[in-house]
Amino acid sequence: MIAARSGGHQDGIGGGDSEAVASLASDSGVVDGALRLVVALARAAVGGADGVSVSLRRHGHLTTVAASDRTIKEMDASQYATGQGPCVDASLEGQRFYSEALDVEQRWPSFTPRARALGINAILSSPLLASERPVGALNIYSRSPSAFGPDDQQLASVFASEASVIVADAGVDVSDDQHALGIRDALRTRQIIAQAQGVLMEREGIAEDIAYRRLRLFSQETGRPLRDRAVEVVASTAPSAILAAGDDGWRV
């Protein structure tokens, strides 16, 4: 297993992330709103992520429905225009495409120079599937080559899967807003547990899986949620870290 990352890179490729995310909607539908939140969460959670977008095929053409900033939206558009790039291929073939270092990338000769001109050096595109058919991609861009390790790729797939569920099952059980809130809370819990693991690993000199097991056993024996124990462990070391972890703090 891995611990959830405490955060991606702090500065978006194009800057002004939060406002840009809100302003880049292709329409005001709740599905797009939920996908924008997935984009924001993926950018915060996947290590090395400088920009994230979601592309969907609508009316026969790929379009960007959510992007963390304007440069990322332009990168997507360059792929649509050239018909090349990991986003295009992931959306067509339903498989993950990862370009680890664009300076040696051979697969997309028309697109790659445009990306490099904007300082992008690695791109990871994970397919979105509906009824087992590819319908789009979750795209993660980085300035750093070799930015995404195996754990980052797996985490990207998790977010792509969740975006797929939103696309495929929009409005079935709960509203997209409720679904997005659930993802946000889940991510926060995941982060505090990862922090607590780190504290235990440092404090007791134990491995990551043993630290997790300690937390789980405590929960198992006391009947209290694992999250509550994680909050206590983190708070025992640096109380201020609790508030630093989220915009409204962790609920204890």
């Binding site: 297993m1 569920v165 993802i183 819990t189 789980r216 405590f218 024996e221």
Partner: protein
């Protein structure tokens, strides 16, 4: 490693009254790395989770059973009968059979 009959996790999910999506959120929150589709395959025995992933699923279900007034009925991969806790030094709670889950 514990030998588990197929579909055991799915039967616990149904007993816990959680949808697949609800369980995935809980599993993800607790550190699970599988997608919603992979989790569904784990539940039905189509894929075998890693021991860690199995225990994360088990704990997500067990926390739900506690919310419902039950115990921790879902066994963990590293369970050993009457094992002494390495977390608190206490013996673990005895596990109740699934039919007693909801107290």
């Amino acid at each position: 490693m514990t030998v588990r009959p197929r579909a055991t996790l799915e039967s616990y999910r149904q007993a816990a009254d959680l949808s697949g999506g609800e369980l995935w959120l809980r599993y993800f929150a607790l550190g699970g790395m599988g997608t919603a589709f992979q989790l569904e395959a784990f539940l039905h025995g189509a894929l075998t989770p890693t021991p860690h992933d199995h225990d994360v699923i088990a704990h997500a279900l067990n926390e739900r059973f506690v919310e419902l007034g039950g115990n921790h009925p879902v066994p963990y991969d590293d369970d050993e009968p009457h094992a002494q806790s390495e977390a608190t030094g206490h013996r673990r709670r005895p596990r109740l059979p699934p039919e007693s889950t909801l107290g």
